[in-house]
């Protein structure tokens, strides 16, 4: 019950027009910036095969739009996470949180969860809006035929959000000031985006495109996920054990 109240506080401080409006706008804009899927396949008149193919195409398109959405994800995770951890540490609000009769681990988890819920839900709505607009009449039918392909973008977006959050969490926990944290995480996350222009051969092995499931290397998805989980564990350890809140 106590943690639910904490979550409610956290969400109440996040769900404000100042945050929601730019978040939604940038999510919807950047979801159009996918790498683009080419190629064509002829499936003849087989209706079932055609709908399977359409579902797969739709799923790929959704996963692919995550690579564009990554820009908004990077920006907002860098800003939001550093405001919720480093900035609150600076202004003294975190001291109030820590003085409550709950463990620090719970506070960390709730802060993470609240931000994750917000960014993830808005990103998901942006992706599914894009997918729905590609096939407005058939979308529900396709979802019924092959839910795996149509729900695939959820996994890609969850992994992408996890990665950006891990990097921002790490820097927020380790930096002295909030703007240090957001700057470091912005540099780190955006520099991955430049790989596509300079070394196009390597782009499928590095973050924004590893999340385009079905096109990227499965091992690189695994490594990236492992890396983000490790980074979150490390920042959780630092927050719980090492951080001096004064």
């Amino acid at each position: 019950m106590k943690s639910l109240i904490l979550l409610k506080w956290e969400l109440a401080s996040l769900f404000r027009l100042k945050v929601i409006l730019p978040l939604t706008a940038f999510m919807f804009f950047t979801s159009q910036l996918g790498a683009g899927i080419g190629g064509s396949t002829s499936v003849g008149n087989n209706q079932e095969l055609l709908s399977m193919f359409l579902a797969r195409f739709l799923g790929w398109m959704g996963s692919d739009s995550v690579s564009g959405l990554y820009l908004a994800l990077a920006f907002f995770s860098a800003i939001l996470v550093s405001t919720c951890l480093a900035s609150e540490l600076e202004s003294g609000i975190l001291k109030f949180y820590v003085s409550l009769p709950t463990s620090r681990l719970k506070i960390f988890a709730i802060k993470f969860l609240a931000e994750f819920i917000m960014v993830f839900s808005i990103g998901l709505s942006a992706i599914y809006y894009l997918m729905f607009m590609k096939a407005p009449g058939d979308f529900l039918g396709l979802l019924a035929v092959s839910p795996f392909y149509v729900l695939q973008p959820c996994i890609s977006l969850a992994l992408a959000t996890l990665f950006t959050f891990a990097v921002s969490m790490y820097f927020s926990v380790n930096s002295r000031r909030a703007w240090h944290a957001s700057l470091y995480s912005l540099i780190t996350l955006y520099s991955f985006y430049s790989v596509r222009q300079i070394a196009p051969g390597a782009q499928w092995f590095l973050p924004p495109y590893t999340f385009a499931l079905g096109m990227s290397e499965m091992t690189s998805v695994l490594y990236t996920t492992l890396f983000s989980v490790l980074l979150i564990c490390l920042s959780c350890y630092i927050f719980v054990r090492k951080l001096e809140v004064s």
């Binding site: 520099s191 300079i198 051969g201 490390l234």
Partner: protein, 305 residues
């Protein structure tokens, strides 16, 4: 009065501009501008195969024998008009052989006593031969090799200038001088389907063995590929080479080892931009790892003190 003179001046200047346009020296033939006496290029190959003519094996197959590894080199001895005298050397395990041939630098015809006896596309004219940039390939009505295993290789497709890494997601072309990204690819199909190389049977290749080779985009010099020409086939009797490409590379029989033609890369200075492009992901990951570690170390030191 002044206005009128100004008008006359204007007319006069226009007249002179048109005059200079028409008097611009026009060449009756178009050979590459970089071509001069003393230019040379050396190509390295692994195994050259000569034809053992007495043993024709199968219907469309040929039996070839190994000559060993070596190099193929040409040098311009004399350049008169559009005729160049080339000193061509082929060095294999069986020894070194040198011939002098006369080549038409415009049409790449090999000429002897006023007769054309073959073709050698050692370079291409970058102003005329590549396809237009809005199409990927264009079929050209030219002969590539006049005689290769009893057939004429002609009507090749010539690509536009394309980037190996950006458009094809392929590794850059390796030469003895450095790496090359922008190339023009010439390719043609043949009717030869199977070969016997020593004891190994190669093929049958469906649709015939596909010959293709790449020219770099600055001068149009041959850099790499499955290359044969009539000097090799008719003067040296070499028809085939062993594949040199490793896994993941575009296949090639020979590559440019050295040249004094200025193709933008040289042995002395490697292009730093190309190096950065190749190692960019590693450099990036290194910098980011350093950033992660530095922030961690700083925060730990702060909490301890």
């Amino acid at each position: 009065m002044e206005g009128r003179t100004a008008k006359h001046f204007k007319e006069l200047t226009f007249f002179f501009i048109f005059l200079t346009l028409f008097l611009k020296p026009s060449y009756s033939y178009s050979q590459p501008g970089w071509l001069k006496e003393g230019d040379y290029a050396v190509y390295r190959f692994k195994h050259a195969y000569a034809c053992n003519r007495s043993l024709v094996w199968g219907d469309s197959g040929w039996e070839l024998m190994d000559l060993g590894e070596g190099y193929y080199r040409w040098e311009i001895l004399k350049l008169e008009g559009n005729l160049a005298t080339l000193k061509v050397t082929l060095s294999t395990g069986n020894g070194t052989k040198t011939v002098e041939v006369v080549i038409n630098t415009e049409t790449m015809d090999l000429v002897e006593d006023g007769k054309v006896w073959g073709k050698a596309w050692l370079w291409i004219d970058m102003t005329t031969l590549p396809a237009a940039s809005n199409v990927n390939t264009a079929e050209r009505n030219i002969t590539l090799v006049a005689s290769w295993l009893n057939e004429t290789v002609k009507n090749p497709t010539v690509s536009r200038v394309h980037s190996m890494s950006k458009e094809g997601n392929l590794p850059l072309i390796k030469t003895g001088l450095g790496l090359i990204d922008l190339v023009v690819t010439v390719s043609a199909n043949t009717n030869v389907t199977s070969l016997k190389l020593g004891n190994v049977i190669h093929g049958p290749v469906e649709g015939g063995i596909h010959l293709f080779w790449d020219y770099e985009a600055q001068c149009g010099l041959l850099v790499s590929g499955l290359y044969v020409d009539d000097i090799l086939t008719q003067k040296f009797g070499v028809y085939y080479f062993e594949e040199m490409a490793k896994v993941g590379e575009v296949s090639y029989w020979m590559y440019l080892e050295d040249t004094n033609v200025d193709i933008g890369i040289s042995k002395e200075g490697t292009d730093i931009v190309v190096l950065l492009k190749i190692y960019y992901p590693y450099i990036l990951l290194g910098i980011l790892a350093a950033l992660l570690i530095i922030t961690l170390v700083r925060s730990w030191r702060r909490t301890v003190v």
